[in-house]
Point group: C2
Chain length 241, copies 2
């Protein structure tokens, strides 16, 4: 039996060249959108509604929704909170529908929306994501949100972590140069992740704005068993599909 | 004094997001275009005229030029030869102007043409390129040709080799995640380059067509001191600028 394929797409600008509408797309934006989404589900959020534009986020705020929204790291003025995973506390999110709009992450989710399924991954739910994918019997594209279409280290090294888990299952194979490179990065840095991230452009962007307090949190493995799944324009727990 | 910047662009589809028209752009297409161009200059070619389309290449052939042209690895029917570096022998190229058209490499050269200068690099002329760049006092973007806009391993690992040389000079610095990743790949694989390339998608593409005989040749370091420079629509040796 031929194996399932796993690929890594390193930037939204490269997605069309690798797109496979039959695949499950795994969106990755480690600093900070997909880590925040995973933490929200760990803390009992009911649904997350990713919206692309500031205007739609504002409209939803005026309709009474709780809104998490940032651009370039900064919370939008009308939003209830920004994009730190610490904002998605049990107190802030439990049982709620949160409207969510970020610089890179939410756009990436919508870009993949016509593929078979879109799920959300981060270090925080890696094992749950790997197990979920192993059960689905579908090709997988791991889609790095990057930074304004640029390649980034943190999404790439996490992609390597997930690719390694899938290859170790024996069900998946890859012939994708991005996947090989991501696995190499992961193998090389897995025991010194913070040292790697401290070199990255996004660390300096967050640090300048005083937003780098969440980095160690985002690098924790397997803090939640929930796989957020994008379905009918909202993100829900895989347990509620 | 602030240092010069070196960045790596991993795909033609990402170039616009990193473009700096004041920079020198170093085009890299290890398997095989830039290795072939370097070998042509090592063997005494006078000029290389990169042309983007099959039709222009045919027109130049009809005007009496020697034409090297391929698409997806295969020599175009009217061309004198294809894109193997072995075709660019002293017998075939010495003293001549060669018209040249390839799947990825020549398009990449034209995409960068409005930057300060475009030069051609490969393992074959790495030290010469590094020394040339160190003399120019300009920011540098290393531009990987990739494969039909996809990321590839061989251009990335060579970029890491060149970035390492530039950083070691003490004149350059980088804050570019692609550059950090390329250097990591180079440091990890420099003593086992062939093992790395044997995993790459391009190796399998070449192998299927019986065109992989040139891989070891393309991985040789510092076989020529010539830096090919793209100027006024042709590529010439830096010694003839």
């Amino acid at each position: 039996m031929s194996k399932l394929k796993v690929e890594v797409c390193l930037s939204p600008a490269l997605f069309d060249f690798q797109k496979n509408t039959e695949a499950i797309v795994v969106v990755v934006d480690i600093l900070r959108a997909t880590s925040s989404i995973c933490n929200a589900f760990a803390n009992g959020v009911d649904k997350i509604m990713p919206v692309e534009t500031r205007n739609i986020a504002l409209e939803m705020k005026n309709k009474g929704f709780t809104v998490a929204a940032e651009r370039n790291g900064y919370k939008l003025d009308f939003a209830d909170f920004g994009n730190s995973p610490f904002n998605f506390s049990r107190e802030n999110v439990e049982g709620k529908t949160i409207v969510y709009s970020t610089t890179n992450g939410t756009r990436t989710i919508h870009q993949a929306a016509d593929c078979f399924q879109v799920i959300i991954a981060s270090f925080l739910n890696n094992k749950a994501v790997a197990n979920y994918l192993i059960e689905q019997n579908r090709d997988v594209i791991i889609f790095c949100a990057g930074w304004k279409n640029k390649f980034n280290i943190e999404d790439t090294v996490y992609s390597g972590c997930l690719v390694e888990s899938l290859l170790e299952s024996g069900l998946f194979e890859t012939n994708c140069d991005s996947a090989f490179t991501a696995v190499d990065m992961w193998k090389h840095w897995k025991n010194n992740l913070r040292e790697l991230i401290d070199k990255s452009a996004q660390r300096f962007r967050l640090q300048e704005k005083g937003l780098d307090d969440c980095i160690d949190f985002c690098l924790q493995l397997d803090e939640t068993d929930i796989v957020p799944v994008f379905k009918n324009d909202v993100i829900v727990s895989h347990l509620n599909l």
